[in-house]
Symmetry: C2
DNA sequence: CTGTTAGCGCATTCAG
DNA sequence: CTGAATGCGCTAACAG
């Protein structure tokens, strides 16, 4: 092999002294005599023949590619999803391509549109913000799509989502069991899917356990990042005296940890801290971070399977799945937590 | 718009009462009368026309896509690269697709082969392990490729690499200035590009500053991960009494931080710790981590620009660039380090 | 300025 | 079992 010239079926056919049809058959596992097959394979090898993806796609309508669209490749929760999805789709014979869209719904809409050009056989998308325009673009798309995240109920798309409310409930329950009463929330932007869910969940959980929700105990960071959590926690400490802080994700919670240390508060003695998503960052943190596992790996896995099913059976009924949360208790809420 | 049927140029042409060529021209910015253009755009809109990527690619030979291949999407250093590269390629009119290959060179070889099918116009690749097979596949590829990382000198490929040796020298110099003398290395696998470079760099730096290199002060983790660093540091502490530890990347260094805390050593008082890559993880760590910035963002940027240049001018001379390292000093080496 | 036409490389009828 | 011929949707000559 390793001729460096670009090759094609016709060249291979000529070299093997057979027709292009036969070459195509041999190379795609069709029936052919052993002798002919051998000649074809040798010729293909000698010419370094590689089939052209676009030609095959044009002919078959398939790309054997699945796109995963996430807002931020740096967010550990998406990293978990990427890792999970890669394996599932590979096993089903698809290649995964990851597309980092940024947080702006407009970019996601552009992506959906461009995917309709036939870059992929299906799309997994986890939107940070769900706007009517995005829903419209998603619904109008001819491409099989599975949405990871909460969608308006009337949207007829497969989707699998987390249960933030129950998850925050788990955190609040745990904190109350530790004797905490002033449980603050360091949230991300409330115009995002997770942001709004977590705010509502926090209020509901406090109410359910008979604690008064107060505006003082809720601060909103400018993003779901470490730095934003750092700054938001500083604001929180300036206006209230919490004995526990829930970060809307692990990065925000780590930011809170840092600010608490800088402010001279001990964790967990003075203030307990809980994160959400249970990513690697929770384990890396010092002290290690108790975190609500919202099942990102499970969600990704379920979503990938749904997508493959939908690609193979476009008329399958729409499925909506909810993944149950779980709590991973670590040092940031209990003094003598088990070592990871 | 938003007809849901799949459309094509012929349909649009028929609806607008013009030829397919005119439709193609209008939609691609060719010259046409305003009146005709308007009719075409209306028809395209009404039919929800979207051009087919594979057909266009087959015709033009271009995909307008660039692939970035990394071994592990979860590694912060690759995250930095992805972020940087996304912007550069977008500005040049390309879409970025990220491919997570895993650490096995075999998977990378498969990727290179599959890209020869025409999935992308160019490839940015940062291999963890460089085997002769991989070099062969890279060299034999017809696709424009830029390698991020060290390559054997005879390979005729554009590449931009870090200078680990100088970087470690910076770290050692800094530690010596802090009065440290038993400077250990928690390395990753030595059969990787960064692993071998860092080992050599460590030895060279110790020698240069007149310190004896000893096997006791070198441990090799099973991977470039937090957990591996944790375990390797435990082994290190069992066999030696270092007063400083250099992690071959930030994740390993954070693992060292954790193990030191568990072993009751104070950082930096008893043991100073330095990471490499200067990723977000260094800032998040407690105490925050002094880290050698090997210029991953700069490398990614330079590589992306080189690739775009090579795509546009396949005959341009081969370029090899080296990015100079820098040291970010934080709390893990100096008691009163500046707050981030 | 606009239309006709010829392939790009491939998988797939349909004949033989 | 094998070969000839067709067309997927598009762009770029080439004519008019």
């Amino acid at each position: 092999m390793a001729e460096t010239k670009k090759s094609n079926l016709a060249l291979v056919a000529a070299r093997a002294g057979v027709s292009v049809a036969s070459v195509s058959r041999v190379l795609n596992g069709g029936s052919a005599s052993e002798q002919l097959a051998k000649r074809v394979r040798e010729a293909a090898d000698e010419l370094g023949y590689v089939p052209d993806a676009s030609a095959r796609t044009m002919r078959t309508g398939r790309t054997d590619q699945i796109t995963l669209a996430v807002a931020d490749v740096g967010n550990p929760v998406y990293v978990q999803m990427m890792r999970t999805v890669t394996g599932i789709v590979a096993k089903a014979g698809y290649r995964l391509v990851v597309s980092s869209t940024g947080a702006d719904p407009k970019d996601q809409i552009d992506l959906v549109r461009s995917l309709n050009r036939g870059y992929a056989d299906g799309l997994l998308i986890s939107p940070l913000r769900i706007t009517p325009d995005l829903v419209e673009a998603l619904s109008a798309s001819r491409l099989p799509i599975v949405v990871i995240g909460t969608l308006p109920p009337e949207v007829e798309l497969d989707n699998v989502r987390a249960d933030s409310a129950t998850g925050i409930g788990l955190a609040v329950e745990h904190l109350i069991a530790q004797g905490r009463r002033r449980i603050a929330l360091v949230n991300g932007p409330v115009d995002t899917v997770p942001g709004s869910a977590r705010l509502a969940g926090h209020r509901a959980a406090l109410e359910r356990f008979g604690l008064a929700a107060s505006d003082e105990l809720e601060v909103t960071a400018t993003g779901f990042t470490y730095r934003a959590g750092h700054r938001a926690t500083a604001r929180l400490l300036a206006q209230a005296e919490p004995d526990a802080i829930i970060g809307a994700n692990d990065l925000l919670a780590v930011g809170a940890l840092k600010e608490l240390a800088a402010a001279g508060r001990r964790v967990p003695e003075d203030v307990a801290v809980v994160g959400m998503d249970d990513t690697d960052a929770a384990e890396l943190a010092t002290p290690s971070l108790t975190s609500v596992d919202l099942g990102s790996a499970k969600r990704a896995k379920a979503a990938a399977k749904l997508l493959i099913r939908r690609i193979e059976d476009p008329d399958a009924p729409v499925v909506r799945q909810v993944i149950a949360p779980a709590l991973s208790v670590r040092e940031s809420t209990v003094p003598e937590a088990p070592r990871a």
